[in-house]
């Protein structure tokens, strides 16, 4: 017995709002739709079948791009993860797709034998195997849901631009606040001991504020400046980009706060190391870094970062005691 045909109410303003919140991590776990077959408009046996993930942000993006059309939407259970990430983990995968095609009785609902998959689902799905096991041929559609209309109108042909993954400024800046939010524990871990030390040595409120913004700047250099200036910062390695941004910040902070030579040296050792580490973490959100590349960065730079940061702390502490 085939699964029922599912329906979903059209996305509302609240859905958009929840979508934005979910990108920030709020209510992320529950922002899903039930997997299964959905009708968009009033699809008949000739209507195209599009496949997507059960993350509601993905689901709504596809539905929006299908507005005014009749289509079938086959939603895989990716445990609420977007297509590309789920494909990398195999949950947007061959097994799940074959299972869904079978359980929702797709073969009886449509006359044609074509499934349109998002191109970014390809790391998880072996199209030839799906064809062998279900009789449905897999066609890879565009990378972005927004191009689905043009893809369908063009006879299921994707242009080179539709197939290319970019990482434009708008997307990077959308990720920057999220990176900052994620880096707050790092900031807190530095600020608390630094503040305690400053107060224990009789520092004023002004000293405390100075320490706070100096540390925060190093976090922002790695988590905001690097994503924003990614293509323009020299070096290919994210860690080096971050180190450079952190160095610029450390020198600025030293000048602005009138640091003496030893404190400046400590700042130059410590702050860029923090920025470099946070910039390295941004590899995960980027769209073009490879695992072997990131492995190489980790091998080359994580230990020096730790040594520099520790040296900075020791130098600042010794200098503080002797002064």
């Amino acid at each position: 017995m085939a699964d029922e045909l599912r329906t979903a109410p059209p996305p509302t303003g609240w859905d958009r709002c929840r979508g934005v919140l979910s990108r920030w991590g709020f209510g992320r776990g529950s922002y899903r739709v039930a997997p299964g077959l959905y009708a968009v408009g009033t699809p008949g046996p000739e209507a195209p079948v599009l496949v997507t993930a059960n993350y509601k942000l993905s689901f709504d993006a596809v539905r929006r791009s299908l507005a005014g059309r009749d289509a079938w939407l086959l939603v895989l259970d990716t445990v609420g993860i977007n297509v590309w990430c789920a494909a990398g983990k195999g949950t947007f995968g061959t097994e799940e797709l074959v299972l869904r095609v079978r359980t929702c009785g797709l073969g009886e609902r449509v006359r044609h034998r074509t499934l349109v998959l998002p191109q970014l689902g390809a790391p998880g799905v072996a199209g030839f195997e799906v064809a062998r096991r279900t009789g449905f041929k897999v066609v890879y559609g565009p990378v972005r849901a927004g191009d689905i209309g043009a893809f369908l109108d063009g006879g299921m042909k994707a242009t080179d631009a539709m197939r290319r993954v970019e990482f434009p400024l708008a997307e990077r800046l959308m990720l920057a606040p999220l990176e900052l939010l994620q880096a707050l524990p790092v900031f807190a871990a530095m600020l608390l001991p630094a503040a305690a030390w400053t107060l224990a040595r009789g520092g004023s409120a002004g000293d405390l504020a100075g320490v706070s913004w100096t540390l925060f700047g190093a976090v922002a250099a790695g988590a905001v400046l690097v994503p924003g200036l990614l293509p323009w910062l020299p070096f290919r390695a994210f860690a080096l980009k971050g180190w450079l941004a952190g160095l610029a910040w450390a020198l600025f902070a030293a000048w602005a706060r009138g640091m003496d030579a030893a404190t400046t040296a400590a700042a130059v050792l410590f702050l860029p190391a923090v920025s470099a580490f946070l910039a390295l973490n941004f590899t995960g959100a980027s769209t073009f870094t490879s695992q072997n590349g990131v492995n190489k960065e980790i091998r080359l730079f994580v230990r020096p970062m730790g040594v520099c940061a520790l040296a900075g702390v020791v130098l600042a502490a010794v200098h503080g005691v002797l002064r």
Partner: protein, 101 residues
């Protein structure tokens, strides 16, 4: 934007290639070029090792050490002695996986 050169592990067996072009279609960084009825690797350093091409090659002509280019996932794997993972395989754990695509 380009990442570190000389690290991608992608390899193509031209003998096994039938020139179907699926690798060129699924590659998000346009690494392949189709010519003379065969695929060729035109831009190896653009490869992000996502594994889409190898997974979809019905003739096993492509090999790549597929994985995630994510420092958090790799460091997490190193610390727990397991494979690189952001923890999102059984539900959302990392905000990285919260993007729309």
């Amino acid at each position: 934007m380009r990442y570190l050169p000389g690290v991608a592990t992608l390899a193509l067996d031209r003998e096994a290639c039938t020139g179907c072009g699926v690798c060129a279609a699924v590659c998000p960084h346009r690494v392949f070029r189709m010519a003379d009825g065969k695929a060729s690797i035109a831009d190896l350093d653009a490869c992000m090792e996502c594994g889409a091409c190898a997974r979809n090659c019905a003739w096993g002509a492509l090999k790549v050490e597929a994985g995630v280019g994510c420092a958090q996932a790799i460091l997490h794997g190193m610390m727990t002695g397991s494979a690189p993972s952001c923890g999102c395989a059984s539900g959302p754990a990392s905000p990285c996986c919260g993007g729309p695509t």
